[in-house]
């Protein structure tokens, strides 16, 4: 097992699987943040929009991203688009809800203070609301990153894309039945998850110390 781990970690083809997964993951996270944070800011600061969209969101959220695999496969094919799209879908929710939650927790006194100094609505949003929401948003991103990783590996595993850790695992299982390679793949995927989780937690602690 350890020997196999070393062998694989020095093998260029395994490395390319890892790189493919990590790259797709980073793209998915960036897209998810770009969609979820602005949406969260709008939903969190305009109650009317929030009430209006609640039914839609509550209906969409419980749809498990894995249920979308068959549809995404036929619509988007076996390329990286499929796994990125599904990972984005899965990663949206934690970021969105944490952003909304953060705005709920916003101290009204801070807003009043800013208003007193003549800050406009947009100014309040970007100078007061966003900074004070940042810790929650980062927590959301941390949760989203691990969820996205899981979805990504699951999709690779089930949908047989041509490259990625999940694909490596599936190949090892179905082809030669190499259980040691399956384990290596799983351990590496888990390690990426833990590194992401701890890395983002450290970022939150270091840069957002308030």
């Amino acid at each position: 097992m350890v020997g196999e781990l070393v062998t694989q970690l020095t093998s260029p083809s395994f490395i390319s699987h890892v790189v493919a997964t990590v790259l797709a993951l980073l793209i998915a996270i960036v897209i998810a943040v770009a969609i979820a944070v602005p949406s969260g800011l709008v939903l969190g600061s305009v109650p009317a929009v929030r009430h209006a969209t609640r039914a839609v969101i509550e209906f969409l959220r419980p749809i498990p991203s894995v249920a979308l695999i068959p549809l995404a496969l036929v619509m988007l094919g076996f390329g990286p688009e499929t796994k990125i799209t599904l990972a984005v879908y899965a990663a949206l929710w934690p970021i969105l809800f944490n952003t909304i939650y953060a705005l709920d927790e916003l101290d009204p006194l801070l807003v009043d203070t800013a208003r007193v100094f003549g800050t406009g609505r947009m100014g309040v949003l970007f100078l007061v609301a966003l900074p004070s929401a940042l810790p929650f948003v980062l927590t959301g991103i941390r949760l989203a990153a691990t969820t996205a990783l899981i979805v990504m590996v699951s999709v690779e595993l089930m949908a047989g894309s041509q490259i990625g850790i999940g694909y490596f695992i599936m190949e090892a299982r179905s082809g030669p039945g190499r259980m040691d390679q399956v384990l290596v793949g799983t351990v590496v995927a888990g390690t990426i998850g833990v590194l992401l989780n701890n890395g983002l937690e450290r970022v939150r602690r270091r840069w957002v110390a308030w």
Binding site: V56, L60, P62, S65, V66, P70, L73, G166, T186, G193
Partner: protein
């Protein structure tokens, strides 16, 4: 009432927009809702065998897996949480488990999946028990000192201590864990059916995919959405009743 209208007006509006766009575009990938509803009707209502043979087993698997996991998680969690000795042994393991986000176990289960309902059930139970267990441990440990002292002074019987003090004190955390587990059960149910079996909503999705029947695929996804929404709403209603004693009524919580 106005809020209710506000909520569902936009929802209905979006459905209408989708309907119109679906008609105009006439794209097989995006069938309008009317077609999806018709497909669902043909699939599950006009052929009840499909409903009893696929939807019902799925829901039964999901619920029984979740309930079993809930019972195991809560009882084990309360015991562990109130026993220093047990925590000495299990503590490091729990710390490790806590660092793993619950969905991270899913790929592992993908590897373990084999055909057969009992195996599927076992996998769902094993996959969703952790959030309940960890939250029950946290909840049981959070009984404050004054309540522990009060119970000790009045020398209440053991069953009253467990059911009357520890369980209610831990219940807010337990419910949070149950919510996470419920949505995880849905995910594991779908995955297990996509991979493992010849019955269930997931296997019907795969069947529709093989037949390139996009409308039925959408119907399956919508059904899963409705199922998830319904289960979550039901659990929230139960939680709201069970935790009505809490001084500050908590609004909807998003886990």
């Amino acid at each position: 009432m106005t809020k209710f209208l506000q909520r569902w007006t936009v929802f209905a509006g979006l459905v209408v927009v989708w309907q119109v766009l679906g008609w105009l575009a006439d794209d097989p990938f995006f069938p309008p809702p009317s077609k999806i509803v018709t497909a669902a009707n043909e699939w599950w209502v006009l052929e009840p065998a499909n409903f009893t043979g696929h939807v019902v087993p799925s829901v039964v698997r999901l619920l029984s897996g979740w309930v079993i996991a809930g019972v195991i998680g809560v009882s084990l969690g309360l015991v562990l949480g109130r026993s220093d000795r047990a925590m000495e042994y299990a503590g490091p393991l729990l710390v490790f488990l806590r660092s793993i986000p619950p969905p991270a176990l899913v790929p592992v289960f993908l590897l373990l999946f084999k055909a057969g309902t009992s195996m599927q059930l076992a996998t769902i139970v094993f996959g969703v028990v952790w959030p309940v267990l960890l939250n029950s441990v946290d909840g049981a440990r959070s009984v404050d000192v004054t309540k522990v002292d009060t119970s000790a002074v009045f020398r209440i019987p053991r069953w009253q201590w467990v059911l009357g003090v520890v369980l209610p004190a831990a219940s807010p955390k337990i419910f949070a864990g149950l919510r996470v587990s419920l949505s995880l059960s849905l995910v594991l149910m779908v995955i297990s059916e996509l991979v493992g079996t010849d019955n269930g909503i997931g296997s019907q999705l795969m069947q529709a995919q093989r037949e390139f029947d996009y409308t039925r695929m959408w119907a399956g996804i919508v059904l899963l959405g409705v199922l998830g929404y319904g289960l979550n709403t039901a659990l929230l209603a139960v939680e709201r009743r069970a935790l009505a004693w809490q001084p500050r009524s908590r609004d909807e919580q998003h886990a």
